[in-house]
Symmetry: C2
């Protein structure tokens, strides 16, 4: 594609003529008016208008609209679904991520001609790569800080999510570090509440993490949730550096894009991007964002780790969607800069999902977080961590898990307990 154009792929459903609908979308997202106004010359349109560069009908059927509109909606009508690609000249907005969002994901979802619209993918020209850092740690930097090579980082989340004091949290962390865990994260509901202040939690947790590292040589990576306004995140980042922390976490839908760009500018630690709220952006298959398109914005903005849910998760997302999301984390964004990030698998994860996870992504550059899978292992947390490592050993060696479990009791117990 051109070095000077932005492209976005969409899926649309419409009761109207699909080509006319797509032309309307292109108009709304460039010249932006349906009335001819003074000064809008054909030359101006040629230079500034969005172009439809691909258009393909994928389904025509009689049925019910995916999304309601203000129009009267019959129960059954002729509908068309189509995929199309819009292209914008970079010169109208420049390499700006916030303005890109308004362009590729602005008013278009509200158009009445549209009874379904989903942004599937985006492709950005090279000037965007120069304008933003992208992930500054990614898999290599994260592995270096966590001291883990050749397998995924095995991690967990502090649960219960809320109610623990800083001391309660640190006591659980001490146990998990002693169990040899690679990675621990705050829950997204825990940031800096009066019951568990951020600074107290960092001090108490890092005392345990550092003590264990001094004793064993292994420093567990802890992702502290610093979600807040820009000044709060800056202050909290300073606290993290002072205590030798090696990772931070932010709820990116809460912080937002300008906040994330600012965070990436000052952060000296990997950014663990939590996607909570993702459901309202994506849950309807004919509305909102695909993970592939959405995550590219945050990858370029500076995320190092991105949540992708997990196989056989406790949420509503099917496995094929999880796999597509995880794979998209490894797709290079630019010739000059891949912006690849580590996918984070979570939600009801245990040894049973590990062979399928490896088969799906064919790499170990990922983070797996298991809650019950570690803390509820009948042999205790150390056996829980060991079981997950053994599950990966088996997968990497191409040995069926059940066979490997015969000589590996921690894995065997985990399989029997289904944790």
């Amino acid at each position: 594609m051109s070095q000077h154009r932005i492209e976005a792929d969409y899926l649309v459903e419409t009761p109207d003529d699909p080509e006319r609908t797509v032309a309307t979308i292109a108009g709304e997202q460039s010249n932006g008016t349906f009335v001819r106004v003074p000064g809008e010359t054909p030359k101006l349109l040629e230079r500034a208008a969005a172009r439809v560069v691909k258009f393909e009908v994928i389904d025509r059927f009689v049925g019910r609209r995916a999304l309601p509109t203000a129009h009267p909606t019959p129960d059954q009508e002729h509908l068309t679904r189509a995929k199309f690609t819009l292209s914008w000249p970079l010169a109208t907005l420049g390499p700006s991520l916030p303005n890109l969002m308004a362009t590729v994901a602005g008013n278009l979802f509200e158009l009445r001609q549209v009874s379904g619209l989903r942004l599937l993918d985006i492709r950005l020209p090279e000037p965007f790569a120069a304008a933003y850092s992208g992930p500054r740690f990614g898999a290599a930097g994260t592995r270096h800080l966590a001291g883990v090579q050749g397998r995924p980082l095995i991690g967990t989340i502090i649960k219960p999510s809320v109610g623990f004091s800083a001391q309660d949290t640190a006591a659980l962390v001490a146990k998990l570090c002693a169990a040899g865990i690679d990675f621990i994260k705050d829950d997204e509901l825990q940031a800096d509440g009066p019951n568990c202040p951020f600074n107290d939690r960092v001090a108490a947790v890092m005392r345990e993490v550092n003590a264990c590292a001094d004793r064993t040589g292994k420093k567990t990576m802890y992702a502290f949730n610093l979600t807040g306004d820009v000044e709060e995140m800056k202050r909290r980042h300073e606290v993290l550096l002072r205590h030798g922390a090696t990772c931070l976490m932010a709820s990116i839908n809460s912080v937002g894009l300008a906040g994330m760009i600012e965070l990436a500018k000052f952060s000296q630690l990997p950014i663990h991007a939590h996607r909570n709220g993702w459901g309202y952006l994506s849950r309807h298959p004919l509305l909102g964002w695909s993970f592939t398109a959405w995550s590219k914005i945050w990858r370029l903005a500076g995320a190092d780790h991105m949540h992708v849910n997990g196989l056989a998760n406790k949420f509503s997302e099917p496995d094929d969607s999880v796999i597509e999301s995880a794979r998209s984390c490894f797709e290079p964004m630019f010739a000059s800069k891949t912006c690849t990030v580590m996918p984070v698998f979570s939600s009801g994860q245990g040894v049973t999902q590990m062979p399928g996870t490896y088969a799906a992504v064919n790499t170990t550059d990922l983070i797996v977080t298991a809650g019950g899978g570690i803390l509820a292992h009948p042999g205790g947390p150390e056996a829980g961590v060991r079981a997950l490592r053994e599950a990966w050993d088996a997968a990497l060696q191409g040995v069926p898990q059940a066979d490997y479990a015969r000589t590996h009791p921690a894995l065997s117990m985990a399989m029997r307990a289904a944790v």
Copy 2:
């Protein structure tokens, strides 16, 4: 409600037992695990868990799920829709808007028990009012700067959205100022692209605005779109102050919450909050956010004007939804601080929608932007502005528009031209 608890109202659809589903949502958004973990005592749960404080089944029916899940989904099944209210102790998160978002609108939308979930409203305890500025201008401050009393601000949007240079924009602005317009805004697609750089546009536009003000005593308010990262917004804000601008605009879904909070901290001008992207947050009636809930977050963060679409708009939103949004802008958020904002009516607006708009909101504390309604008026832009003012005069005097038009030719022409 308690001074120390946060409340959120939801609409849920589920194929499961609705009370159990609601309990699951409360669990996910507080203790956050389905496996009993060490340290999770009944006392901790009592202190930290979210409580279901209201629950009401509103419909039981046989039909098809609003949202798909990973489960096999029959075409027809028993479904329940219910409204419920969750309550959280403030002490688990503190008065933090970004962390509020993760709590009231986090992972819950992804739960598999849920085949529809929409956040309807939120109520925040007083400490939130102390933690954020809220709108610092609102209607009174905006009226003072625009010099408009007793009627809505009549405005327009620069169209075509993109393609105009700074000089083209300024030439159109000169014409609009001469026509006596109160308010002009950039389009959300125009921020700081190479074809129309922000600084050039501000200089060229404000030269015309200031010249017209010197000549006529009326200074048109122009909302410059400074959407960008935090540092860009700070620099652009300085440029605005230097040229005597009286308003700024930000695409709040592009900037995000931490960026908006930062903007509100340094801004010395009213913040015109553009909601583009709202469709992906709200278009499905059983997913995402109601405007009432969503706008409260941005009102408290510092928005002064909020887009609400318009009656008989060109988008998909029905009038009752537009009216509900507009009215919510005037509902006080706290006893100590109302955080009321000016609703902005736009999209295909002209004289015909004005009586209904006034009847719906019963106030003039609003902004109406008309594109074709002003620029395509057969008598020219001055007649377009006059026609809209006359439409409001008629509405405020309780005179039917058709009667008033008999003695007001600009209004009469607008009605005949249907602009």
